[in-house]
């Protein structure tokens, strides 16, 4: 099958998933309300407690990129849970009896989750602006930061697609992925500066790609306060490159793995 056909089929599947965002109340809440809640909670609860120089406002600005990163990564669990849901229902039998590209089912799902993440980022960005976050670089840089967040989240959604195909129910997918995602997004520079972490955790956090994507977004948004010491770890010195490397490796491993698991799980 030719690549344009695969993309066309994936677009049809993605459209189906996007229609669902409107019609499934859970998804709509997940997509719009929880990002607002995250921004508000983290800014005011943590923002007040962990006060860096210059009062809560500076810390709020520091936090935003971390909240963005955490939220879009958590958003990837939608990929896995939705696929597990499809697997339970008969709809995949319908898809599999049609002359569409088999890979379009997973590709379409990951596409629609990018759309989902764009909505999430817009909602969070607006909420951020309300609580005092500002882009202090150029719009172009800020867009690059958003792009990097989307690319990294896209890669993660293929890991979730694989889990969704592997695990028998949407609930299990959610639990399984939270067990992985919580430590990854918290043992990082998302919510606290790395120098506050104890030794071994700090090293882990420095090499954690969640830190690098957060660092990259922070830099590109111009949200690193002047006078902050430069990072010492290589990944954080080159956060864009390191993030893209991780994204590429994840995609190279998990796109084939998820598609193989799709074939196994659907043909029994």
């Amino acid at each position: 099958m030719r690549v344009p056909d695969v993309l066309a089929d994936a677009a049809v599947v993605a459209k189906r998933n996007i229609i669902k965002i409107k019609r499934v109340p859970d998804l709509l809440v997940f997509t719009t309300l929880s990002p607002i809640m995250f921004v508000l909670l983290f800014s005011y609860v943590f923002g007040g407690a962990i006060d860096r120089e210059g009062g809560g406002a500076a810390y709020r600005e520091f936090l935003i990129a971390g909240i963005f990163a955490q939220t879009v990564i958590f958003g990837a669990t939608v990929t896995g849970a939705a696929l597990a849901e499809d697997l339970k229902k008969g709809i995949l039998d319908r898809f599999r009896s049609l002359p569409m590209a088999p890979s379009a089912v997973l590709t379409g799902r990951t596409f629609s989750d990018v759309v989902n993440n764009v909505i999430v980022l817009v909602v969070m960005g607006l909420t951020g602006l309300v609580v005092g976050w500002r882009i202090r670089s150029s719009w172009l840089d800020a867009l690059a930061g958003v792009g990097l967040l989307l690319v990294f989240a896209y890669a993660i959604s293929w890991i979730m697609a694989w889990i969704g195909m592997l695990v028998p129910s949407p609930e299990v997918v959610n639990n399984a992925s939270f067990v992985v995602i919580f430590p990854l997004t918290f043992v990082a520079n998302t919510f606290v500066p790395l120098d506050t972490l104890p030794g071994p955790l700090q090293t882990f956090a420095e090499w954690n790609p969640v830190s690098s994507v957060t660092q990259a977004a922070r830099e590109l948004f111009g949200n690193i306060p002047p006078g902050t010491p430069a990072p010492t770890a290589w990944p954080l010195q080159h956060p864009e490159v390191y993030t893209l490397l991780w994204s590429a490796v994840i995609l190279l491993v998990f796109v084939p793995l998820a598609n193989a698991q799709y074939r196994v799980s659907t043909s029994r």
Partner: protein
């Protein structure tokens, strides 16, 4: 002549169960094959293998001459499937479901849209067309799923229990749709629990049980295998059954079956209405009060029971499929 569907020696094993145990099928183009069998016989498994959803452990199959195992993608362009459980997306509307299927058959946007509206009308779903199918009744969902199989007008269609869950009106409508399709030259393989349905729709009937074909032929030839007509009567008072048996047995061509509890008497006969008239005369002389009397030709139900009686008996026992 090339057959629309050909299967040789299909075998499918699950842990402990042999779902298909060497099934051969041939369906000439433009004809309807009815697959009949009790629960667990392997009907759905056959449909899933032929529609490329399931790889068999043995055997081979071709649909419109295309090998199901080596060229599944090409087979999918030539088939339409409506599985046993409606495979529609519950959050999409009926229209969106059909439009999506059209696009995935690569009909293009315009034809997909037109075809979706056309089928919604044909299946009496126009009023519900723009509602999410979550709000549909079971029968509406079933009809939408069937419409999905017809979107691309494929030459071969598989329908797994197409009328299960439909009301009588829905069922006759479905039969009309199916007969129209067949008149247009479509080849159809349908499974059913309704023997009447196979009788009405199928050119050829295959009865399967425990993954094997146990009988095959037209509805008439299957009925002949089970035997001719029967005289059946129900008396008002069970006490007279012994006397009834005594006077009527000479009219029969086989041993009568008498059931005291149901006050019934059933006996194979030959000779049609004359036998019935004679029986009524004899019973009239004796002033036997009858609640019901009639001459019954064997239905496919009789065929079904006669051929798969063992299977119904087996119900409730642990499945012994793996031991075979």
């Amino acid at each position: 002549m090339d057959h629309a569907i050909e299967a040789r020696g299909l075998v499918k094993r699950y842990k402990g169960v042999t779902a298909l145990d060497g099934v051969d099928l041939t369906v000439p183009a433009g004809t309807v094959l009815g697959l009949l069998g009790p629960n667990g016989a392997g009907k759905t498994t056959i449909v899933r293998v032929l529609s490329t959803l399931l790889r068999p452990d043995g055997g081979s199959a071709r649909v419109t001459g295309v090998d199901v195992l080596t060229r599944p993608a090409a087979v999918r362009r030539r088939i339409g499937l409506s599985g046993q459980y409606a495979a529609v997306d519950e959050y999409l509307t009926g229209y969106e479901n059909l439009d999506m299927i059209g696009r995935l058959y690569h009909l293009g946007a315009r034809r997909s849209r037109a075809r979706a509206r056309e089928l919604l009308a044909a299946f009496r779903l126009e009023d519900a067309a723009d509602r999410p199918t979550r709000t549909y009744s079971g029968g509406m969902r079933r009809r939408l799923d069937l419409a999905g199989a017809l979107v691309a007008d494929p030459p071969v269609i598989f329908l797994d229990e197409p009328t299960t869950g439909l009301d009588p009106r829905g069922r006759t409508e479905m039969w009309d749709v199916i007969q129209t399709l067949v008149a247009g030259g479509t080849t159809l393989l349908l499974t059913t629990q309704y023997l009447e349905e196979a009788d009405v729709l199928a050119d050829e009937i295959v009865v399967i049980d425990q993954g094997r074909i146990i009988a095959q032929g037209t509805a008439d030839s299957l009925k002949r295998q089970v035997g001719g007509e029967r005289l059946e009567l129900t008396v008002a008072d069970a006490a007279v059954l012994a006397g009834v048996t005594e006077v009527l047995t000479p009219l029969g061509v086989g041993r009568p079956a008498v059931d005291d509890g149901r006050r019934s008497f059933v006996m194979p006969v030959s000779g049609g209405p004359e036998v019935l008239a004679e029986a009524l005369r004899l019973l009239g002389e004796r002033q036997v009060r009858l609640e019901d009397v009639g001459l019954r030709r064997p239905t496919l139900d009789d065929v079904f029971l006669a051929l798969t009686g063992r299977a119904t008996e087996r119900d409730g026992r642990p499945d012994d499929g793996g031991a075979r």
